[in-house]
């Protein structure tokens, strides 16, 4: 980015920057968005690893067609914990609250978010939420992460406690989203017009809007579920005139838009990484920027496609199906623009780029299997089969998690002031890539052949697919372990990172690695967009 004055050359030295202060108090009471972001990153990564262990246990059980290692009930608990942890404690907060907190103010050329205390509060509300959720493990959930009534209103599991935990997590998510919206509106550096903002910010802005609008609805839904269990209010109980499908409407009114909370930030990261490692200006800046908003908007109109088999009217089904296909348009707009950016670029394959390209590749597979589920006729065949499991793992893990990994590798030097071992990073990437595809592509095949999801036992004819898938999951786990080891090694003894190791142009690379508490000694003045690669200045 073209900046004037001191802002451009201020990056100096390799001190400990914002990490200089030590001791737990310097973290627990910090108002520094970078530290709060780092706390979110650590916390969510731990839950990612725990959730991953549950996934491995599930795959282990599915090695044989009969229940082998543990009971069906235990299996139900494990997949519920896997889903709930991954979604509520990892994938929703990880990129927005972790990387977003760290990099939104840096991208904007600001010293912090608009409400630093609210930011810290959101972390501690999040912490309270996960503590309550951990507390609910005394009677672990067995409902799946969707908590469908009437079962969730009756099961002996600690649904009420868990509801409270999810409510708190949701509250933290709202506070973060609200903070980001105000920050992006009010804290932009002089000259940083909307159309000079990095695309990561557009993605985060759209994400925040969804968080703020959708999350209150799921909050009240969980309150009603708790009221159903404690007071027997009967909203979701047919015996009292209530309607279980109403619960599903409420639930998916949040939980469909929230898949865009999961994917949009990852798309933002990919939009940053692709031009840097192609040495080319991003193609279709405005199209990518506004498609984020379009996805956020349309995401609110399609929740019904989760309910085609729940007994909605055929008209409602048809409308939701039709609208669902429309979401594919802004998504495809992004993909085409990334590919157009790559076209004739001077591409290099550093680890962030490998993950970004993996994102595009896997997300295309995940995205294109979406319309099979959006179309009613095929949906009825594929509903609740492993095809669905494969589809959302391709979008959520192949998409979001790969985007997250791209972001971690891309920004590791900035966040820590240390470089990663690039060779080890590439080995980890190769294992993750192969392991992921072996695990989940076979699930498409098992699903189309009719294997239902969420059962500990299955017909012997699906045995081969399941064995292959389990082997894949082991490779994937190995890849992630190597990656984590690499991160820890990088933290301990990585080479000092220069301020701009990737020759990138967004503002965070104009500060020291790691940045000082104040971010910028002098607030930069922005005179251009941040994608002028391939021009003499870059």
């Amino acid at each position: 980015m073209e900046t004037e004055g001191v802002g451009r050359m201020e990056a100096e030295g390799n001190g400990r920057g914002y990490l200089a202060e030590r001791g737990w108090r310097s973290w627990a009471f910090t108002l520094d968005h970078k530290r709060i972001g780092a706390m979110y990153l650590w916390t969510t990564t731990v839950f990612f690893l725990i959730g991953g262990v549950f996934a491995l246990l599930l795959r282990l059980e599915l090695l044989s067609p009969q229940a082998h290692y543990f009971s069906n009930h235990t299996y139900n608990i494990f997949f519920t914990l896997h889903g709930s942890m991954m979604i509520f404690l990892f994938i929703i907060p990880a990129i927005p609250s972790g990387l977003g907190n760290f990099f939104i103010p840096l991208h904007l050329g600001a010293r912090d978010v608009a409400f630093p205390r609210l930011n810290l509060a959101s972390y501690w509300v999040f912490a309270a939420g996960f503590l309550v959720i951990i507390g609910s493990l005394v009677a672990p959930m067995d409902t799946g992460w969707t908590f469908y009534t009437p079962y969730s209103a009756k099961t002996g599991a600690a649904v009420t406690t868990l509801s409270l935990g999810v409510f708190l997590i949701g509250m933290s998510s709202i506070l973060t989203g609200l903070n980001f919206i105000v920050t992006i509106h009010k804290m932009r550096a002089p000259g940083m017009t909307w159309h000079r903002m990095p695309l990561f910010l557009w993605a985060m802005y759209a994400t925040s809007i969804i968080q703020v609008i959708a999350t209150p609805v799921v909050g009240v839904t969980f309150l009603l579920l708790a009221a159903e269990r404690v007071l027997g209010v009967g909203f979701f109980d047919p015996a009292k005139g209530g309607d279980p499908v109403l619960f599903q409407h409420f639930f998916w009114f949040y939980s469909h838009p929230v898949v865009y909370v999961m994917i949009l930030p990852a798309m933002g990261i990919v939009s940053e990484v692709i031009p840097v490692f192609s040495r080319k200006p991003i193609f279709g800046y405005k199209a990518i920027a506004y498609s984020s908003l379009a996805i956020a908007f349309m995401g609110f109109l399609v929740w019904g496609h989760h309910m085609f088999t729940s007994g909605m009217s055929p008209l409602a089904n048809a409308i939701f199906s039709f609208l669902t296909f429309f979401v594919a348009v802004p998504t495809a707009v992004k993909v085409f623009n990334w590919i157009a950016t790559l076209y004739r670029g001077s591409i290099t394959f550093e680890s962030p780029m490998l993950y970004a390209l993996t994102f595009i590749f896997l997300f295309i597979v995940g995205g294109l299997t979406g319309p099979f589920l959006g179309a009613m006729a095929t949906n009825v065949q594929l509903h609740d089969t492993y095809f669905v499991v494969a589809h959302f793992h391709y979008t959520m893990m192949g998409g979001t998690v790969m985007g997250f990994f791209a972001g971690l590798h891309y920004w590791f030097p900035k966040m820590t002031g240390k470089m990663l071992n690039e060779k080890v990073a590439r080995i980890a990437w190769a294992l993750v890539f192969v392991g992921f595809n072996v695990t989940f592509f076979t699930m498409f095949i098992a699903g189309t052949r009719g294997m239902p999801r969420r059962y500990a036992e299955y017909l012997p004819k699906f045995h081969t697919e399941n064995v292959i898938s389990t082997i894949g999951s082991a490779v994937l786990a190995l890849g992630i372990l190597v990656m984590c080891w690499n991160f820890l090694q990088g933290l301990r003894k990585g080479a000092p990172a220069p301020s701009d190791p990737w020759r990138a142009l967004t503002l965070e690379w104009r500060t020291a690695s790691p940045p000082d508490v104040e971010n910028f000694h002098e607030i930069p003045r922005v005179a251009d967009w941040p994608y002028g690669y391939g021009t003499p200045k870059a």
Binding site: A114, I181, H185, M187, T215, K240, G242
Partner: protein, 196 residues
């Protein structure tokens, strides 16, 4: 909500940020209540007779009285905000104190109403109408409590001399929130008490 001590803000930006933040927060509140209003709509369309019969068991006089109480409290909040804009902190404290008092009256009346319902064996879960009644007014009641806490905090800050004609962001923001709490009741009252 606001962070007046943040050094990196100039006061005008801080005020605008706080305002945008509170309005965004109120949008989330609309959606929080929105789900309940949706449930209300669904069930009222499904069971119109139940709603007509059951709503007659609510006490319209107390409901109407409470509406007057809350509207008056909104008025006193406006007077309080107006006072501090002229730099009159003591009058702000008096008007906000009156608001807190009126909010207390509202909750007392609500308590009388709830007690009467329980006495007649009407609980959440008795039927869908009363489930909605208790959930909606209960959630609203929690917001009234939160509002009282917020306004009290503002009064305490004011007594410490924090506010002046030039800086009174928290006063304005708590006022906005209080108007929202009133507004929700303005919808709840006819929907629950005045079904034709």
């Amino acid at each position: 909500m606001s962070d007046p001590s943040a050094e990196h803000h100039d006061p005008a930006v801080a005020f605008e940020s706080a305002k945008l933040g509170v309005w965004t927060f109120l949008a989330t509140e609309v959606l929080l209540f929105g789900a309940l209003f949706t449930a209300y709509t669904v069930f009222r369309m499904k069971y119109p007779e139940l709603f007509r019969a059951e709503h007659a068991k609510l006490d319209r006089v107390l409901g109407a009285a409470n509406t007057v109480v809350l509207i008056t409290s909104s008025f006193t909040v406006v007077l309080g905000v107006d006072a501090i804009r002229r730099g009159k902190a003591r009058r702000l404290e008096a008007y906000f104190g009156a608001t807190i008092l009126l909010a207390g009256v509202f909750l007392c009346v609500k308590y009388v109403e709830y007690a009467a319902k329980f006495h007649h064996g009407l609980y959440p879960g008795t039927n869908l109408f009363f489930s909605l009644y208790f959930m909606m007014t209960g959630l609203h009641g929690i917001h009234v409590l939160a509002g009282m806490a917020l306004l009290s905090y503002v009064v305490v800050l004011s007594r410490r001399g924090r506010f002046s004609a030039s800086y009174h962001t928290p006063v304005e923001m708590s006022g906005l929130y209080w108007h929202f709490v009133d507004l929700v009741w303005i919808y709840l009252f006819p929907l629950l008490y005045l079904i034709g």
